[in-house]
Structures are given as C-alpha cells and as structure tokens.
C-alpha cells in the first residue's frame, strides 16, 4: 500500500462500517446494531447480504487488531485475503488498510485499557502543609505533603487514598521510582 490511491466508489460506506465495528468492539459504544449499520450505510442491501459483509469485515478487522499489524504484515495479510475464495476485493483491501492506518493507535489503546482489570491511578492531587508538632515546643513546623490518589477499576466507583509524606518518605518513594525507571530503561534496551 505504498501510494495513497483515490478512494473508489463504495469506499465511504465500508469506511463507515469499519468505524461502526470498531466503536462497538473496541470503544465500548453500546447500541450499534446490525440494523442501524445497514440502514445508515447499505440501505439497498438485503439483510442476509449485509450480514455476510459485516461478518467478513469484522473478522478481518479483528485479525488485524489482534495481531497489531504493522504495514508489512497488513499488506501481506490483506493480499492473502484478496486471493481467498470468498475473500475481499482489492478495493475493500485499500479501504481497510487506510482505516487501520488512521485508527490503529486508538484501537490499540482501547485494547490495552480493556485488559487492565486492577486499580489504576485515575487522578492524583497533593499539597504541602506545615504541621505543628509536639505539645511542648511550639514553633517546630514540619512540612508534610498530603497526597490524594484516586484509584479505580474499569466501570467501578473510585477509591480515594489519602496519604501523608514527610521529606524522608518522599525521598524513599523517589528512590523506589528511580529503581523502576532503571528497570524500564533496561527493558527497553533489550527488547
């Protein structure tokens, strides 16, 4: 798929169909029914014809997304599909390729989010307070950071974690975070 070719007739509905499939499968858009898609995009098509098209295109898109295909893999895959019995046309392949190029990042992000089932940090706020210590020595003021973390899981109500960090604790945290950073660097260097 080297050069951008002008989109052939029929490209728009197919592009719309792929969008609809992606919205339902990856972006959590409820209510995108077969009827809706057919009515909007292929009103002239017979229901069984449309269903066949929908099934075929869904299958192709899911294969591409599941393998997170790069351009080489995509070209090889789509070419193979055009040569298959009951496969796709060259025009359809072009539309699918363009769609994937434009939506790959967003779909991949959705797939990643769909696979995160533990708490994630949805938000984090902090402030520094001056805390008066001790009932005997009035003027000792220790700065502490008060951190509020919003932890949540997909589709569940958040939990708010409120923590106090004095300077020593912040230093401890920074040390751990540096260790993590080193690990990430080591990982990205070897892969």
């Amino acid at each position: 798929m080297a050069a951008e070719q002008p989109q052939p007739e029929g490209a728009k509905p197919l592009s719309g169909l792929l969008s609809g499939i992606a919205q339902a499968a990856y972006h959590g858009h409820a209510g995108i029914t077969e009827e809706l898609l057919r009515g909007q995009l292929y009103p002239e098509a017979a229901p069984h014809e449309f269903r066949a098209l929908l099934t075929k295109m869904s299958g192709v898109l899911k294969s591409v997304a599941s393998a997170d295909m790069d351009l080489n893999q995509l070209e090889a895959f789509l070419t193979a599909q055009t040569k298959k019995q009951g496969g796709i046309t060259a025009d359809q392949a072009a539309v699918i390729a363009k769609f994937w190029k434009n939506h790959r990042t967003k779909i991949r992000e959705s797939l990643i989010n769909q696979s995160r089932w533990d708490n994630t940090v949805k938000n984090m706020n902090w402030r520094v307070d001056l805390k008066s210590q001790s009932r005997h020595i009035d003027q000792i003021n220790t700065p502490v950071a008060i951190v509020e973390m919003e932890l949540g899981k997909n589709g569940q109500e958040s939990e708010f974690l409120c923590l106090e960090f004095d300077e020593a604790k912040v230093t401890q945290m920074l040390k751990k975070l540096s260790e993590i950073e080193e690990s990430i660097t080591a990982l990205t260097q070897t892969t």
Binding site: A65, S66, A67, D68, L111, I112, Q114, S115, R116, D118, N119, T120, V121, M124, W126, R127, V128, D129, L130, K131, S132, Q133, R135, D138, P143, V144, A145, I146, V147, M149, L151, L161, C162, L163, E164, F165, D166, E167, K169, V170, T171, Q172, M173, L174, K176, L177, E179, I180, E181, S183, I184, L187, T188
Partner: protein
C-alpha cells in the same frame, strides 16, 4: 456555660494543638490520612489477551503498605502504564522540590 477551669484547659490545648487542625484544609481529612510503611514495585509486560494476541505493553505495579489512623494496616496496589508512571514520578519530584523550599 462551662466551668472556668474547663475553659482554661480548652484554651491551653487549643493553643498547643490548634494550629495543626486549623492549618489543614479540612479537619476531617486528618482523620483519614494514612502513613506509608512500605513501598514495593514490579515491572511487568502484558503479552497477550483474549481480545488481542499481540498486546506487548510494559506496565508498573506498585503496592503501598499503609497504616491507617485506626491502626489498621492495609495493602493498596495499583497499576500504571509507562506514561502514567512518568507522571507519577514527576509529581513526587515536584513534591520534593516544594518540601525542600518550605
């Protein structure tokens, strides 16, 4: 009306302790602020899932051991993508900078 000695005790305690309550934005927050006892971390790589055979993304998991004011110790764990981790790290660096200058 409170007896005089009660007023004196209240005034004395308020002078000693009052600042830490009034300086916090919300006195109620004080009661729910936890202390960190331990920090653990893990760097993982998501390889595959049922909806995506080629996930391939690294993620950081952290577990904080927190002592709540009630005395209860709880483990709180959470996961971060690499960009989220970098944000998290940045927050703490900023915190350290502010704590130093206060």
């Amino acid at each position: 009306m409170l007896p005089k000695h009660a007023v004196q005790v209240i005034r004395h305690i308020w002078n000693e302790q009052g600042k830490s309550i009034s300086m916090s934005e919300d006195a109620r927050n004080m009661a729910t602020v936890g202390q960190i006892i331990d920090i653990q971390w893990k760097l993982g790589m998501a390889v595959s899932s049922d909806s995506c055979r080629s996930l391939k993304y690294p993620y950081v998991t952290m577990t904080l051991k927190v002592a709540e004011p009630s005395g209860q110790i709880k483990n709180k764990s959470f996961e971060m993508t690499i960009p989220q981790f970098q944000d998290f790290f940045r927050h703490f660096k900023e915190m350290a900078a502010v704590l130093e200058t206060v």
